[in-house]
């Protein structure tokens, strides 16, 4: 097995230390950072994504693999930056004002990170002003609004309106989610996407930034 295949396997196993050591070895052997990423780490994490989508593995498996990947990316980051590679995109995510349910939002953030996006997590109880501030500061591709209560889902609509009024709407895609949220609701408030779970949220965001 080539060292790049071994890296893929280690990512699939979720072997954090093992992946990192193997990546360091590959760097020492003079293998290019872009090859390590594209032919070692990425095939591994992609395989994990597919297995997860087919309900063959559990969320902690995905998260361990993503961690193995992310720690290894840090090793090659200076080389990647030198060769001009950057994260595939940026997402800003939060739970809306009045709502403190953050488990789902945290999972969405984790899964997005795992699929290669840079994620800025604003936390919970986040109103329009904070989203706007973050959009101006981080220039994200995607923003995510989580709401778990029928009483706070209205806030999703309010935030979208405020972003429109600020003239920032065209710069970003807005994703909404949370237990009471549906596609119909997303359409009603003018969101760009709704997904029922974190894995689909990450897939949608990745797909969007990659094909943008």
């Amino acid at each position: 097995m080539s060292i790049l295949n071994e890296i893929s396997e280690l990512v699939i196993e979720g072997n954090i230390e093992g992946t990192k050591a193997k990546v360091e070895l590959a760097v020492e052997q003079g293998i290019g950072a872009v090859s390590i990423l594209d032919e070692g780490l990425m095939p591994g994490i992609n395989e994990i994504g597919e297995r997860f989508a087919k309900f063959e593995i559990f969320v902690p498996n995905v998260l361990m693999s993503a961690k193995a990947m992310n720690i290894s990316v840090e090793v090659i980051q200076p080389l990647l930056t030198a060769s001009g590679a950057k994260p595939i995109g940026t997402a800003v995510i939060g739970t809306v004002k009045g709502d403190l349910h953050d488990i789902g939002k945290n999972l969405v953030a984790l899964m997005m990170k795992s699929s290669g996006l840079e994620v800025i997590d604003l936390g919970s109880d986040i109103g329009a002003d904070k989203y706007i501030e973050a959009i101006e500061k981080y220039e994200p591709d995607v923003i995510g609004l989580s709401a778990l209560l029928t009483t706070t889902m209205n806030e999703q609509g309010r935030i979208i309106k405020a972003i429109e009024e600020k003239g920032l709407r065209d710069k970003i895609k807005i994703m909404v989610g949370g237990a009471p949220v549906t596609q119909a609701w997303a359409d009603k408030i003018g969101a760009d996407a709704f997904t029922a779970d974190a894995a689909d949220a990450a897939r949608w965001a990745k797909n969007y930034v990659v094909n943008k």
Partner: protein, 484 residues
């Protein structure tokens, strides 16, 4: 009849281990409480408080003192006076409550949408007539029907007008708590009367692990001051915000609830409390929240034993519910296997009547079916006593079986009405069943629904009090609703 059959899921040693670890956790790690007044008062009462970080630790002495002041007997009153609930249950039964907080309503026709205020009316009308449901909660009315900032006060206004049984209240915002209390007081003629005969009790929830946000601290504080009973809750999600093991999740939920009980007793010794652990888990593949995971059922049993046996504190958990989205086979398997376990626990209250979709939907049809299920469960809880009368000893010895047979014997005459008979179950043969339209249980429940809905209201609040309640609603609206 006293209850007889009880599952002990923990050995004595395990129970003692849980107790000592739980106390150690509150003494050594402590809690985070977002409420300055309460922190100050608890500090004066001897808790170790850091006002800056809002961390609070208890001492063993305070814990013991608090546990000793939990009332062993108390009553949750009903607005109608017809369904007052004495704790512990005089017959060893448990009390049953409806589901709280579900945003969706599944109508009799099977359509599901956010709950309308007209459906809140329907819900109480049906629930009043459910003989095996002892107290009520607030359906979660949609923010499109009533102002989103005040769904709890608007829904309580309906409840106070229509509900004949005790109401367990779940506030949605910290500022709303005061109005909820005022409204309940208005319905009985004042705060003193409410304190004397509390027709409402409150929910306060922790945020796992060991955090108490402003709103919930406010609920605890206000109830302690007003002398209103609290059923403090923990709703952990195993694997997400508490340990993935059922044991670890039971432990954390129980510790969080225990901390609330200790605080309440320190602030208001003798306040009625019911330890309410409402455990969930996360499916580790789909991340969907589950109510009906098998291990979590056992975790609920652990919590019931811990509070009831370990501290002689009344305990409350889910007795029914499902992760299914429909009234289907998964639903019935999940809710009946849960209730059969829970009925055999030490629980004083079992909840969730009428819910499906992991506490996100309520259905009047499900409520009517649950009424049957709880009837069976109460009968199981009561158990069977062994003595010569129940054995039929004399008649067996006299050879009654040969002449004239048991059908008309004295022993049969004495006992034949005792056996539990679910109202809607098929109890005839094939031809009778076909003659009656080959109805499934769900179809019978729909038929029953149509009968119940036509019955006149069993209760309505006296008009003067109703007007007083309306006045509080108006004030609350003014104070709470931001987009007028």
């Amino acid at each position: 009849m006293k209850s007889r059959i009880k599952y002990d899921v923990m050995t004595k040693d395990e129970l003692n281990h849980m107790k000592s670890r739980m106390e150690e956790l509150l003494i050594k790690r402590g809690i985070h409480l977002d409420h300055d007044e309460m922190l100050t008062e608890l500090s004066e009462l001897g808790c170790i408080v850091d006002m800056e970080t809002k961390q609070l630790k208890f001492t063993k002495e305070l814990i013991d003192k608090a546990v000793a002041s939990v009332p062993k007997e108390f009553t949750l009153y009903s607005p109608s006076g017809k369904r007052d609930l004495k704790f512990p249950h005089p017959e060893g039964k448990f009390y049953v409550r409806t589901n709280t907080g579900a945003p969706n309503y599944m109508t009799v026709d099977g359509e599901t949408h956010f709950t309308k205020i007209s459906e809140v009316n329907e819900w109480y009308h049906i629930a009043n007539q459910m003989e095996n449901v002892d107290y009520f909660t607030l359906p979660s009315t949609s923010g499109e029907e009533v102002p989103g900032d005040a769904v709890d006060v608007y829904t309580l206004e309906r409840a106070l007008n229509l509900a004949e049984k005790h109401i367990w209240l779940q506030p949605y915002e910290g500022e709303n708590v005061k109005y909820l209390i005022d409204m309940a007081a208005a319905s009985v003629g004042g705060l003193d009367k409410l304190r004397e005969r509390p027709i409402v009790s409150f929910i306060a929830c922790s945020v796992s692990c060991l955090n108490y946000k402003r709103m919930d601290a406010e609920i605890l504080y206000r109830c302690a001051k007003a002398g209103l009973p609290v059923q403090p809750c923990s709703l952990p999600t195993a694997g997400a915000n508490t340990p993935v093991t059922a044991q670890g999740t039971a432990f954390m939920a129980a510790s969080e609830v225990f901390a609330m009980i200790v605080m309440l007793q320190l602030l208001s010794p003798g306040l009625p409390v019911i330890a309410t652990t409402l455990l969930f888990s996360m499916d580790m593949m789909t991340t969907y929240t589950l109510q009906s995971n098998t291990e979590i059922t056992m975790a609920r049993l652990i919590c019931m034993q811990l509070f009831e046996q370990g501290y002689n504190i009344r305990a409350h958990s889910y007795g029914t519910g499902t992760d299914s989205l429909a009234i289907d086979e998964q639903n019935m398997i999940e809710r009946t296997s849960l209730i059969h376990s829970m009925a055999m626990s030490d629980a004083s209250v079992l909840g969730g009547a009428g819910q499906l979709e992991t506490a996100k939907t309520i259905s009047p049809i499900q409520l009517i079916i649950d009424n049957e299920i709880f009837g069976i469960a109460q009968r199981l809880r009561a158990g069977l006593e062994i003595n010569d009368d129940y054995l039929g000893w004399n008649e067996i010895m006299d050879g009654v079986d040969t002449n004239p047979g048991f059908i008309m014997s004295d022993h049969t005459m004495k006992h034949f009405e005792e056996s539990h008979r679910p109202d809607m179950f098929n109890r005839g043969g094939l031809s009778k069943w076909e003659e009656n339209g080959s109805k499934t249980l769900q179809e019978s429940a729909v038929e029953k629904y149509h009968k119940l809905i036509k019955n006149p209201a069993t209760y309505s609040l006296d008009p003067e009090k109703s007007a007083a309640v309306k006045e509080v609603l108006k004030k609350a609206h003014k104070a709470l609703v931001k987009e007028q």
